[in-house]
């Protein structure tokens, strides 16, 4: 069969049916300034060799993380992903069954989702988890919307420790629902400040531990205060490896725990695709966004898997669906599950310990540099430091010396008034030489 695109006659007939004269009429809502006037000027067609050479030159302009002393965190973490993970996710049984459009015939995919949910619930110490969200920030936004549905209230309070991009994402997602987002001023160690905002109109307080400055917080009292005021406590996170060592928010009574899963199984990937982890108390399961794989018995009494509670999803409920997430980060979620399975409880604990040890070594080394003050007192693998020069300037100068030193807070939130604060992170990938090189370069830059 030949595929024939629309003919001019087809187009004319279609326009006639919908009552428009020409195609441009369909774009009247687009501002004139945003419309393309001419064809985009593209170079002439080239052969494969030339294109490959050109792309290679472009790629060489990048600095791969592995070629530097690399200390970036603040939401995306460089960890070792075993080669077996990449191999297993590319098996055709998984790769081609990417998303279960006919769920029950993709038993392997459903079972992987089921195992993933079980692992997430266990890791976060929660009763139920969904089959994943797009990433940590969109998961956090969904948590805000879910809290509003559960409490029938409209105000969401973010602590000054939540990653600024997570707050921005929630703002974008919640605006159309008429929810009010209150973001407290950036604070290295003051998650509890959210409790001062509690009132009869607050749906949820959203806190983060470890927070964007790396601070680890016992959230018990915040949860109690939130519940006392009829609000939910939502806890988010950017570094899920931390829960190999520290108590997850589920242990502190959080109603929704959501955050970024990239650290396990997934490379930096230029910032995405990532995988959001999302878990709730069981009593809120019907307000939980996304899909859930469940275990069941088939007609012969054999163990099988199904997508369950999907009556709340878009394909059935349309505009009344609990959320607008229409898939899950299938392949990233699978990589997470496989990596976590390979690690096991003991492996995760060892990995987390290694991270913490490296962070202690980093903090100690930087603390000895004149003009540097370590701000974060209780941390996992990430710390904030106060520099005597602006952090962005220092980051740029460090890069010239082959050290990717961290993320300037001013880059995440220019209005935070923290221009001299640098967020820096160490993982199992950092060698002692990396840390020594960082301290040496920082000393030179700050002189």
């Amino acid at each position: 069969m030949r595929y024939l695109p629309l003919t001019d006659v087809d187009r004319e007939q279609m326009l006639k049916v919908i009552g428009t004269k020409n195609i441009d009429d369909l774009f009247v809502d687009v501002p004139k300034s945003a419309l393309l006037k001419d064809i985009v000027p593209l170079p002439k067609a080239q052969g494969e060799i030339e294109v490959h050479r050109h792309l290679q030159r472009l790629a060489e302009k990048n600095t791969p993380a592995g070629r530097t002393a690399f200390f970036l965190g603040a939401g995306a973490y460089r960890h070792h992903v075993p080669a077996s993970v990449d191999h297993l996710i590319q098996r055709s049984e998984f790769l081609t069954a990417y998303t279960p459009y006919q769920p029950e015939i993709a038993q392997g995919t459903l079972q992987a989702l089921y195992e993933f949910q079980s692992q997430v619930a266990q890791l976060l110490d929660m009763e139920v988890a969904n089959a994943s969200m797009y990433d940590g920030s969109t998961g956090c936004a969904e948590a805000a919307m879910m809290a509003a549905r559960v409490t029938k209230r409209k105000k969401i309070v973010f602590s000054g420790g939540v990653h600024p991009h997570y707050v921005d994402t929630a703002r974008t997602a919640c605006e159309a629902l008429g929810l009010e987002i209150v973001a407290l001023p950036a604070a290295v160690d003051d998650e509890a400040a959210v409790t001062k905002e509690l009132g009869a109109d607050v749906a949820a307080v959203i806190v983060q531990s470890p927070n964007v400055f790396g601070t680890v917080t016992d959230l018990t009292k915040i949860g109690e205060a939130a519940h006392g005021a009829g609000a939910l406590m939502v806890a988010t996170f950017t570094e899920c490896v931390s829960f190999g060592l520290i108590e997850p928010a589920g242990a502190y009574g959080a109603d929704i725990v959501c955050g970024e899963g990239q650290s396990i199984g997934n490379a930096l990937n230029f910032g995405g695709p990532y995988v959001g982890l999302f878990a709730v108390k069981e009593k809120y399961i019907r307000q939980m966004p996304g899909r859930v794989a469940g275990e069941t018995l088939d007609a012969d009494g054999k163990r099988g898997f199904v997508l369950t509670l999907s009556t709340r999803e878009q394909h059935i409920r349309r505009e009344k669906a609990t959320s607008n997430i229409c898939t899950n980060s299938g392949l990233c979620q699978l990589a997470w599950t496989i990596h976590m399975t390979l690690l096991g409880e003991e492996g995760l604990r060892k990995l987390a310990t290694l991270n913490h040890e490296k962070a202690i070594a980093l903090a100690d080394a930087l603390d000895k540099v004149s003009g540097v003050e370590v701000l974060t007192k209780r941390y996992f693998n990430e710390i904030a430091v106060l520099l005597k020069k602006t952090a962005q300037e220092v980051v740029d100068k460090l890069a010239d010396k082959g050290v990717i030193g961290g993320v300037a807070m001013s880059r995440l939130n220019p209005k935070a008034g923290m221009d001299n604060v640098l967020i820096t992170c160490a993982t199992e990938m950092n060698t002692d030489e990396d840390i020594a090189a960082y301290a040496k370069a920082l000393k030179e830059v700050l002189q």
């Binding site: 019907r286 009556t311 709340r312 059935i316 409920r317 009344k320």
Partner: protein, 124 residues
């Protein structure tokens, strides 16, 4: 008073100025086993035709609309305590959803009586 029905398969039965509301036997049969229902709290007011409750079975989730305008004075405690079975067992008796304080009795005139509803269901 006897029951009156909407095209969306809700029933309403008036007693004084309190109207008991539920879903019809036909609706309950079409849904299959109910696995969840979300009822409004007392004190909430609805206009005729507003989304009032959600009833969910293994295959679908459906809105239940207010058949008449009024304020909720009571929601079925049995359903609230997750005894969904009552909706399938006795949709037009013990499986009622809410009691509304009726705002405008004339709205009942636009609803079907038993015979009209039976005819309507036969035609579906």
């Amino acid at each position: 008073m006897t029951k009156r029905y909407t095209k969306d398969h809700e029933w309403v039965e008036l007693n004084g100025d309190i109207a008991t509301v539920g879903i019809s036997t036909y609706a309950a049969e079409q849904l299959g086993d109910v696995v969840y229902a979300e009822l409004p709290d007392a004190g909430k007011s609805f206009k005729q035709g507003d989304d009032m409750a959600v009833v969910e079975s293994a295959k679908t989730a459906s809105d239940v609309y207010a058949p008449i305008s009024g304020e909720v004075v009571e929601a079925n405690a049995e359903i609230k305590s997750e005894q969904w079975q009552i909706i399938n067992d006795a949709p037009q008796a013990g499986g009622w959803f809410v009691k509304l304080k009726i705002a405008d009795k004339s709205e009942l005139d636009g609803l079907m009586d038993q015979a009209a509803y039976d005819d309507y269901v036969k035609g579906l």
